[in-house]
Amino acid sequence: MKRILSVFLGVLTAIGGFVDIGDLVANALAGARFGLSLVWVTMLGVVGICLFAEMSGRVAAVTRRGTFDVIRERLGPRAGLINLVASVLVTVLTFTAEIGGVALALELATSVNYLLFVPVVGFAVWLVIWRLKFSALENVFGLLGLALIVFAVALWKLGPDWSEFLHSIVAPRKPATEDLSTYLYYGVALFGAALTPYEVFFFSSGAVEERWTAKDIATSRVNVFLGFPLGGLLSVAIAGCAALVLMPQGIEVDTLGQVGLPVAVAVGKLGLAVAILGFVAATFGAALETGLSTGYSVAQYFGWQWGKFVKPRQAARFHIVVLLSLMAAIAGVLTTADPIKVTEYSIVFSAVALPLTYFPILVVANDPVYMGEHVNGRLSNVLGTLFLFIIGIVAVAAIPLMLITAAGQ
């Protein structure tokens, strides 16, 4: 019974923790401009994150080694260092976007300028990372993130013609008014939002934090293959709401309020309150994950002690890295750069950085000396290789598309 409960809890937190500021913004943006014609990209992205999260979780459970530990080992110190610098830059940019997102959500709730919340949010993030137990941190924000189910409720209440709705997902047609390059650029953004590299760092390091062993692989698979797709459905619901409410009105999303607008229309004030709670939980939870991920990555590259399973003084350098990246993120938000724009850039650069993380994971998950009986099966390998190919194309295309479309204008 206890086992079933813990699996159930794991799935719930995987659903609630799936969406972050990148998913919120990208899906609402794409839904408002392209209707349902880009939902297939989100679905493809969910398949990818499931594949690679499962692989990195399995590697961590079998070997107790986090992703960056493995990256340095396979790529060597040079390529590993370039990879580390790129990954940390993207993760700190994402961290900045998440903290900005929490502050924007609090502004929505209180009408007080978001910049005033930034120092408070920053301190709260640090305090939680410093004091709260890993499992508590994951469960609390994962469960609160479930408030975003209100987008599914809103979609239901908006009552679209479901057969038409599904048809425009499976047979996507680009709106005639939009250029192909813009369509593809938003596709890249959605892909980057679904597959953000920090999610893999966090998932694999979390497996070590929670002391998973080979016995926990089955549980991890349930979390990933059930929780992530259901979390992905929340992304689709956000896009669907935007497509039904914002697109017909010609509203383009450039504030967090507009992301929540369809919920206010369909469910009313109380619904909006729940949505805002969901925004706060999702972005705050993701801020913790990105902050920890910078510490995990740097410490794992250099072989330092890391993790919340030891006292802070036993992982001093790890905590310093987290603290420094938090300061960088707070400073980033305080430049008054629009957090929604920062989010857009963070997901596109995530797409560029994806192969750096995913390639070494695939290589190690395939190493029989390392993985023993838990080495990749044929299906994982075929799909993993296929995905790496897609990720490579997306990464190469991202920057040129950004330049051609002037970042999707």
Binding site: E73, G76, R131, W306, K311, A316, R317
Partner: protein
Amino acid sequence: MTDDDTFDLRLRLLDRQVVDPDGAMICKVDDVELVPADDGGYVVTALLAGPLALGPRLPGRLGRWTVALARRWADGPDPAPRRIPFERVTELGSAVVLDRTRDQLGIARLEDWVRTHVIDRIPGSRHESE
């Protein structure tokens, strides 16, 4: 180690995580000390760690700067990389397991410095997370 008479040092030893008997992380195998053996091959006599071992393996200017900075910080006239005699190694797997803890080995001065000067001054640094 294996029945095969070649051992791929780069794949199976270099850049591996080094841990103590309880699994606490100590350092990476930043480099190794090789001594020619009688049979014409080489024997690994020690694991080397720290910026003075890693620096020379980094490209160009970055590598030189790493070494120069580490030399400047080190005390003593002729600083050398942190050296862990190979006899300390008890297991070679996904990590290299030693029979000593980090404190017993006395390596990683940066960790000690950060601990005493920063982390220990923040309330709660000695507590487990709750």
